[in-house]
């Protein structure tokens, strides 16, 4: 089993080396003529005004948090799914309970408009 991951490790090195090689190749070939107008930040052709720091809506954080909750739930489902055929009825009941508790949470979020974009 570890040999499979050795392959993944080597493959990862190759997979990340490919873009690096490509970029090095491009760096050798392309022109390098920086000038202030080209290097300034893009803002639809005008000068930037204000800092780059933008008002970060709390909504993004909520989406990330609800995602964490459901991500963990999904992770719990996988070993259960793989072992399911050999388990008895209790496996079904307990997973249904697990999912229903989380569905309750989703319903709460829905009611409280935590899933709305605004």
């Amino acid at each position: 089993m570890l040999s499979q991951y050795a392959f993944i490790g080597i493959f990862a090195i190759i997979a990340f080396a490919l873009p690096v090689i490509g970029l090095v190749l491009a760096w050798l070939i392309r022109p390098k003529k920086p000038n202030p107008a080209k290097n300034s930040t893009y803002e639809c052709g005008m000068e930037t005004f204000g800092d780059t720091w933008v008002q970060f809506k709390a909504q993004y954080y909520l989406y990330a948090l609800i995602f964490v909750v459901f991500d963990v739930e999904a992770i719990f489902v996988f070993p259960w799914a793989v072992a399911y055929n050999k388990l008895g009825l209790y496996a079904l009941v307990e997973m249904v309970l697990f999912v229903f508790i989380l569905l309750g949470g989703l319903l709460y979020a829905w009611q409280k408009k935590a899933l709305e974009w605004r």
């Binding site: 040999s3 993944i8 493959f11 873009p19 970029l23 995602f67 996988f78 793989v82």
Partner: protein, 389 residues
């Protein structure tokens, strides 16, 4: 004749036998890993070269025009022309960009697109590494993209890039849940997380048993890759290329390659999970046909995605996120539980499958009805007729 029957495996065996004559065991393994690694890593690049051409032709035809036809017969060398252009363009890095992070983002994203191919089952015994946690590996590699997007958006030091990155990440996160749940349903039915095992378990392709899981995965994966109708965040008319607006030259090229590589990979995964992967007529007797069926099914899914891109209008971001959380997640969960219930019934397998299909169709019907009602309410709310005001 027998040699050709299992052509690819036999070529691999002959090659291994040949290099074993002058290399120690670990050298043989290393060389094989590197060779397979290089072949697989070129898949996203290959995908970009061919699929960009295919896309421009298909969308062109859908929009009643021809598409590129100047560079080579039917324009097939167009992609090479584009690639050369990207190579020689100047690389402009904005002044106050965070250089290391700025440069790292396209490398991460392109690497992640390549990493996916390690677990794709091309044919019987033709897979990079048949991990015990194959499908989870795929989801995990997909989640690396999320971090890379934030890196690109933040390092550019550009308001549009940052906002674009946040929105893309919100979209990616929202659609990852129905994607994982659909995959979990398939794993439940197949009883294994190994990609090879899932293909072998598909006596009949799973799309006929679990259409809801197929639709859930298909739409969620389309949103993950950023394809229309979920491409609000990179549509040129919207946020000006979004989070990679400050990238030029080959760095932009790598984002592009990653996008098409992901498109190809997601289609391949759909083909593996739902269409039977390398299975097909005579595939058991002649294993060399496996990769052919695999590629054909993958291209079919790619075509389906391109067709949808040329036909459906774009979603607004609030519609998109609402669809993920309020429609796809409950539907996927309901499907998962239904499949679990049916699997515990003491019935023969084909009867179970028919029951599962029935449940799926019921879920589809309910979802469509509720969506229809919600759409009518939404239309009435936003309508401008005097009666509604």
């Amino acid at each position: 004749m027998d040699y050709i029957r299992d052509f690819f495996v036999n070529i691999a065996r002959s090659w291994t036998a040949w290099i074993s004559t002058f290399l120690p065991d670990w050298g043989v393994s290393l060389v094989n890993y590197i060779v397979v690694g290089i072949i697989l890593v070129l898949m996203p690049v290959l995908a970009t070269l061919t699929l960009t051409w295919m896309e421009r032709k298909v969308i062109g035809r859908i929009q009643n025009r021809i598409g590129p036809n100047r560079v080579g017969p039917w324009g097939i060398f167009q992609a090479i022309a584009d690639a050369v252009k990207m190579l020689i363009k100047e690389d402009i890095i904005p002044d106050r960009a965070d250089r290391p992070v700025f440069n790292l983002a396209p490398i991460l994203i392109a690497g992640a697109a390549g990493l996916l191919w390690a677990v794709m089952p091309f044919g019987r015994r033709m897979i990079g590494a048949d991990l015990n946690v194959g499908v989870l590996y795929i989801v995990a590699v997909g989640s690396i993209t999320t971090v890379a997007v934030i890196m690109a958006g933040w390092a550019s030091n550009n308001k549009f890039a940052l906002i674009g990155a946040f929105r893309v990440v919100a979209q990616l996160l929202s659609y990852e849940v129905p994607m994982i749940l659909s995959i979990a349903t398939v794993v439940l039915l197949a009883g294994t997380m190994r990609m090879m095992g899932i293909v072998e378990a598909q006596v009949i392709p799973f799309i006929f048993i679990l259409p809801v899981a197929f639709i859930g995965y298909f739409l969620a994966a389309a949103a993950e890759v950023g394809r229309a109708p979920f491409d609000l965040l990179e549509a040129d008319s919207e946020i000006v290329a979004g989070y990679f607006v400050e990238y030029s030259g080959l760095k932009f090229g790598w984002f592009y390659i990653a996008e098409y590589g992901n498109l190809f990979a997601v289609s391949a995964i759909t083909a593996t999970l739902f269409l039977g992967g390398w299975r097909g007529p005579f595939a058991n007797a002649v294993p060399a046909l496996g990769p052919l069926y695999f590629i054909i099914k993958t291209i079919l899914v790619v075509f389906l995605l391109m067709w949808i891109r040329g036909t459906w209008p774009r979603f607004r971001i609030d519609q998109m996120l609402a669809f993920a959380w309020k429609v796809l997640v409950p539907a996927s969960l309901a499907n998962l539980l239904w499949v679990a219930v049916v699997l515990k019934l003491p019935l023969p397998a084909p009867v179970q499958w028919i029951l599962m299909l029935g449940g799926n169709l019921l879920i589809l019907f309910v979802a469509a009805t509720l969506l229809g009602r919600a759409a009518k309410r939404d239309a009435a709310k936003h309508s401008l007729t005097p009666a509604a005001v």
